[in-house]
Every structure is written in C-alpha cells, then in structure tokens.
Subunit: 351 residues, 2 copies
C-alpha cells in the first residue's frame, strides 16, 4: 500500500488534532483511502524538534505532560528547528500549521517555500501564504513537480476551493460570495436579539469564537484575505488585499439590525469576488442587508458559507463550520487525500 | 484527445439541453476537460430514431420543426427503437432521460440494464432506476466493467451523491437530511404569506414548478424515492420505498405556518436517512418545524438542499437548484466527466 510520511510544522491545536485522527483512525483511513500515514517529524516553538524516519509514536507524543520537550526523545531536541527540519526531513508532505503574520505571511511563507523548493508537497490552513504569496508558491510547486494545497485557508474543513474545481467542472463561475468569518456572523446574530456590538463580542470571546483582539474579525481583514484567495483561485484573478475594498461591521447597531428585520432583510458581512462585464474581477468586503430569500441570509451562528454563481447551474451554496481544531485538521487530511490522488494520476499517466 | 460518443435516449427538455451545451460549448469543454463529446444516436417517442456513427449534426437536429421526425435523415426512422438503438449504437455512454414510472421504474430500468449489459456506461437523471433497482444495476455495471452514474436523480445538477463521496472522504456520515422537492418547498413559502395550500399549488403550477397532478410533490413520494437513493448510496443501506415512513404537507395550513413563525420555527418537508445506535438506517419523509438556526430552515423558494452530519466536520450543507432543463442537463455532464475520470484512472492503473 502507498504511504505518505508527514512533517508537522507547529504542534498546536490543529496539527495535534490531525495527529489524533491519524493515531486513532489510521487503519480505517488506510482501508478507505488506499494509503497509510506516518508522522516522521514534528517541530514546535514550545516543544522543540523531533525527527524519527521510521515513524513517531503519536500516542506517546500526544500524552506528553505540560512543560515537557522533545529533548528526551531519540531524534529530539528542545530547540525548534523549523527550517532545518523542513529541509532535511524524510517526509514527502509538509503540514504547515504555525501562526502567520497577516502583513507578510511569515513565518508560514518561508516554511512553505522551503518545503516546496526541497521537493515536498505542502498542505497548510494558513491564509497568509496563500493570500499574500499564492501565485509565487504555486509556481515553485509546479517547478518542483509537487503540490501546494490549502483548502483550509478559506472555511477550515468545509470545502470551498475544491468544491469549485471538483463539483462545478464545465460551468463558468461569474461570482463567489460568502460569509467567511464565523465570529462576525455570530456577533451579528447576537445583535439581532438586541445586544450591543461590545456585549456580543464579549460573548463570542467567552465562547472561544473570537480572539482577545477581535479587530480582524469585526473589521473584515480576515475576510479580506479569504476573498483574495477565492478571487485568485476560482476567478483566475491576480489581486492582493489592497485591491479588496473593505468595510467591517463596527458601524452597525442593534437598531440597524432590528430595522432590517422589520423590512424583511438581514445584515451579513459579505465577502464578494465578481467578474464584471469587461472581465475584471471586483472584490469587496462589506455588510450587506440581504433579502431573506438570499442563500446566505439564513446562515446562523458561527457557520460559514460560500455561494457560487454559475451559468449552467445558477447559484450553488456550501455551508458548514469555518473553524475548530478537528474541522481544520480535516482540511489538512482532505489536502493530503488530494495530494495522493494527484500523485497517482501523474504516476498512471507517465507509466 | 480522448472522445466519448453518446446515445441520447429520450429527446425532451433535458437531453435537448445537453445537446445544446455540447453544440454551443463543445470546444471550450474539450479544452477544459480533456475530452471531446459527440452524439451518435438519438431516440425519442415523438421523433423516432437516428444513428450516425460519425456524429450527428446537433445544430440541424436542434432546429427541427414541429411535427418533423428523423425519417428524413440518413440513418433515421420515424419509429422510436429504444432497445435496438441501445444495443447496437456505437456510443460508449448511454444518456437515459425518458419518463419513468415511479412504481416499477420502467421503461428506464430496462434501458439502463440493456445499456450496461451491452458494455456501455450509463448516466441518468431518472430517480426510478436508481431508487427501485440501483443495487442490481450497479452489480451489472461492475460485472461489465462500466459505470452507472446518476447524480441528477437527487437534486438535478446540485451535487449530493458526489459531494458525499468526493468532498467528505475520511469522515463518517451518520445522517443525511434534505429539502428534496422544490415544489413543496415553494408551496410552503407561499403558505407562509397566508395563502391556502390549493392557491399555493395553483401558483406553483402556473410558474411551471408543479406538475398537473402535484400529488407526488405534495404527499412526499418524490422525496421518498430520493431518500431511498441517499440512504443506499451514502449510508450503505439496502432499503426500498416501503421502508421509508412518509407524510406529506397536505395536513398543514397557513395558520400552522403562521403559528410556527410566531414561535421561531419554520415548517419544511424533510427527507431524512439516519443510522441509529444499533447501526440500522431509519428513513423518513415528514414535515418538520425547524428552528431558524437549522441549516435547512433558510432554504427558500424551489431551492433544494441536503445536509450531511459527519464526525470530523459536523454538519455540512449544499443547496442549489433541484430542477430545471439546463441544471438537470448539467447533472448528465457531471456524470460524463466522472465516467471519463474513472476510465482514465483504470487505464492508468492497468497500463
């Protein structure tokens, strides 16, 4: 049976959840998918680095106590050596799940580039490398005959990019429109019950939906990065965040939402990428008062959704979770499945 | 470039729309998909039969006047010879889009069986053969090394079956739940504005959503067939319509819907297939008062939707058109794309 060896860059919630899935369900997945998964390297700011080319015992790593590092393991050191591990690991797939700086996408961009340049395929859930350097990184991947996959950069495990490419072949997609930030959607829902923005944000923070600094969620810059990804991937644009006009929800009040409800509409923070009559892609992030019949109007709570306007099929919408440890780990797994399928297709075609 | 030759069984709205797509967009599709499409046979109750192994000129056929038959064409006769055409056509893919009897699925079941037995892959949008004879027909397809594809039997071109198999690999799906009949959903929406069931049905008929006899839509037997398909395909059940408890919407009044709205819920006709704790699949069709936060509560007008409950990803929902000439023809095209992909995978693996 085919096998993929993984290097996990970052061992926070998401990569830990991926390790749990592989540990508890590896055999079942192998039977379904036709390949086995092994983790051969892990690096993490807090834990250090660990490389074992015959496979790390995930049960042991997942049970490590607080304050422990990889220094006690064969092949382990207490120092995080991301670049060294990425370039010297025996893994064929690098799983990038570190934090990312929304301004320059670092350190994730460098991690992805190093992995691709050393001939390894990459999956990431980081928006940064995709939105800020996607075209360049895809070129590097193509030059090295490997894959760069990033389904989780838009709606975690809920398919958006792969939905467009795999479920809508043969159609012409003219626009993509979505609720791409769960925190702001949850906050708007709370404000519909009369809460102030500040109270609703505090509630979202208490529930773990919102970060300590909710600005990126509330002011739309998180959605802005995702709109860049959708525009470039699905509409073939070549835009950056500077090309996406952005307005968040901080200008809305509970009274605005009540007034909308009375008039049969609902305010939603909508990210849109649309091809205009001259073929240019126009991208925006802004609150929109949607009629209740709009496919995005009924999306409640922290759920995300994306609608595709097509010629042959009209509007088709996918909704589901947009965050969560296991849900995001599933995005990584779905990327690994896509990398495997691509490698098989290439192997079949060139044999 | 690879090529597929098609035999169109039935030349009503749906297969005519497929012919239009191939005629107007064949070159563009070939560039995107990597194969060309040619129609080499058409049979139709009204038009007769036409076989031209070097490809029928679709422009000519699509412009035929009222009352004309295929008798005037080389290779054409005024008599519909479905079985003869299916068994003797040079096509490698048979596109079945005749009418189907909901009791025994004929004549579509016989068409599909004859095509598969003669070594041709089949795509159909007919619920009948899939719901009533799906397992048997799939065995015949496997025995003859061909494919039987029927994405359009659930929500026309909106992906349901292929969404489960291609977008959710590695997850365990415990339940599938959907709004699978556009007419009844439109009718419920109209009743929410105070209309009676009878008035709403008349409106749906005027708009072309409902048949002259709307019983199958209103009483849930259309949804019942689709629930059988979802249960057997996605949950691996082996059930028939007799196993699906069914109740339609004719017991609901505008007053019921107003009362639900006042209480923050919405009546929807829901088809469900769910695996219970003992592993049995329970399937039902019934009106359900959904809370407004439910992913199916916001589905408006004639739109269809299906939700998948998964372990790794929670609930994911796809919504879109559930009917329409071109939308349903797109389902056929998506099946043809899947047949081509499968043939390439097999060719690659055995080369």
């Amino acid at each position: 049976m085919n096998r993929h060896d993984l290097a996990l860059i970052g061992f926070g919630g998401v990569n830990r959840a991926l390790a749990e899935i592989i540990h508890t369900r590896g055999d079942e997945l192998a039977a379904e998918l036709g390949f086995t998964l092994r983790v051969v390297a892990i690096t993490d700011l807090r834990l250090g680095s660990l490389m074992q080319s015959d496979g790390i015992d995930l049960g042991v790593v997942l049970r490590m106590g607080a304050g422990a590092t990889f220094a006690g393991f064969a092949g382990g050191v207490a120092v995080p050596q991301n670049d060294y591990v990425i370039r010297s690991t025996t893994a064929d797939i690098v799983v990038e799940a570190t934090f990312t700086n929304p301004v320059d996408g670092e350190p994730a961009v460098s991690h992805v580039r190093a992995a691709l340049e050393s001939g390894r395929s990459v999956t990431t859930t980081n928006k940064g490398p995709v939105a800020l350097a996607g075209a360049a990184l895809n070129r590097i991947a193509a030059d090295h005959g490997v894959r760069f996959e990033y389904e989780g950069s838009v709606m975690s495990g809920t398919p958006a990019l792969r939905f467009a490419s795999e479920m809508l072949p043969g159609t012409r997609i003219s626009a993509v429109q979505g609720i791409l930030n769960g925190t702001s959607n949850y906050v708007l829902g709370q404000m519909e019950t009369g809460r102030t923005l500040a109270d609703a944000v505090a509630e979202a923070q208490a529930l773990g939906y919102a970060e300590a600094d909710p600005t990126a969620d509330i002011e739309g810059s998180d959605v802005q990065l995702k709109v860049v990804i959708l525009a470039n991937e699905i509409l073939g644009a070549d835009i950056t965040t500077a090309d996406v006009e952005r307005r968040g929800i901080s200008g809305l009040t509970a009274a605005d939402l009540a007034e909308a409800a009375a008039g049969g509409t609902r305010w939603k923070l909508i990210g849109t990428a649309r091809r205009d009559e001259e073929g240019r892609v126009i991208a925006t992030v802004e609150p929109v008062a949607l009629p209740l019949t709009h496919p995005l109007a009924g999306i409640s709570g922290p759920t995300n959704a994306v609608s595709f306007d097509t010629d042959l099929l009209g509007t088709v919408t996918v909704s589901g979770p947009g965050a969560g440890r296991i849900e995001t780990a599933y995005a990584l797994l779905s990327d690994i499945i896509a990398i495997d399928a691509h490698q098989r297709a290439v192997a079949g075609a060139t044999r």
